[in-house]
Point group: C2
Chain length 254, copies 2
Amino acid sequence: MASEPPTAAVVIIGNEVLSGRTPDANLQFLAQRLALRGIRLREARIVRDVEEDIIAAVDALRRHCDYVFTTGGIGPTHDDITAAAIARVFGVALHRSEEAARRLRLHYGDAGLNPARLRMADVPEGAALLDNPVSAAPGFRVGNVFVLPGVPMIMRAMFEALEGQLRAGPPIASRQVSAFTTESGIAGPLREVQDRHPTVEIGSYPFLRGGRFGVSLVARGEDADAVAAAARAIAAMLAQAGIEPIVDDADAAG
Amino acid sequence: MASEPPTAAVVIIGNEVLSGRTPDANLQFLAQRLALRGIRLREARIVRDVEEDIIAAVDALRRHCDYVFTTGGIGPTHDDITAAAIARVFGVALHRSEEAARRLRLHYGDAGLNPARLRMADVPEGAALLDNPVSAAPGFRVGNVFVLPGVPMIMRAMFEALEGQLRAGPPIASRQVSAFTTESGIAGPLREVQDRHPTVEIGSYPFLRGGRFGVSLVARGEDADAVAAAARAIAAMLAQAGIEPIVDDADAAG
């Protein structure tokens, strides 16, 4: 029997996203990269820089998903509290990783390794370091929880260095058909297409493009042939309703 | 005694965000508008179009926050299941709102009011309708949960029509000082500034701009004078370290 596809959750740690100051810039990257590996992203949470909130989110999600990825809060400043929170999730102490300290010393030099920088070597006991190809300060993994930085460029480089550790799942095939029409005009026949293709998940996403409303209909599933058949059925349904599909569909996704 | 500031949570419902297909386009708007009203956004969750997942997120958050806002899943297609999920959260039935049906009939005309469109008039018993100034189909409110559409333009118009219902809180004052420096170079003195200004929350946000690393230091709090004093202390701390602040600070926020 094939094993179940692996699942994941993301926890974005940052007051600045919840205050509206900064748009999150990490979720879509992680969502896309996990999808490419056939890992199902089940949920994402955005929480404050508050230890109890981080603990509650990570602890709930790590029990339900194969992998949890956190972003943010592992820098050198006083508001970086993710490492302490993750230690508490696993009931272990924070300790100074000699290997992390060695990497920081290489990067900053002996004279530059001030106490704030050394703080980035404090990780939960039992953590495995994650390589930081950009700026030396490592992320870390405890159990099924991967703790990544919030700066997108560094987070991405670290993810690319770690993704080989992740169990891959069957890829999800996806086909999209878009048209300038309304959801409510096609909802009835679309439901019939969904009912006839139960192994495929059909999503309907309205968009506004150049002042015109349209709909992107997306078929997704593990069976690429079934997905292709569902996409053909969607196109036939539109044709029968006298609705032209948008040929250049790639940027109708907005 | 002043009452506690109101709190809020956001639940974004949409497979398309978790699959990486579409970036969320609603959270930052809600975060900013809630902040303007002095409402503290505590958490956001992004969940699948799965009834159990929607129920779990909304039910957990409505107990901890004064307001919960959901976006997505209230259109006419088969994958729009938010109304049914919210009904289950509150243990009530879905029923056809005559007022919602009337609004849809006005918009689409008798002939245009097909079953899919009428489905958008099905709301939980006891729900209060939320005006949709753009496309007639209403959102709704049950208890402290506001159910909004996912299309950003419509969600925004609906939020603007409802926000007068929300209890306002004391505004949060915010001051930002940025510089091309590293977090780890200033983390020590920054912590001292934080310790001397305990009523102000100081956040440190690294950024990359034109290939140079920098840091935005943000002081936030209810007491505008205290926030201003903390910002002056941050500027003085940078000056003492020989670090020039960025004068045109507005777009250093990236």
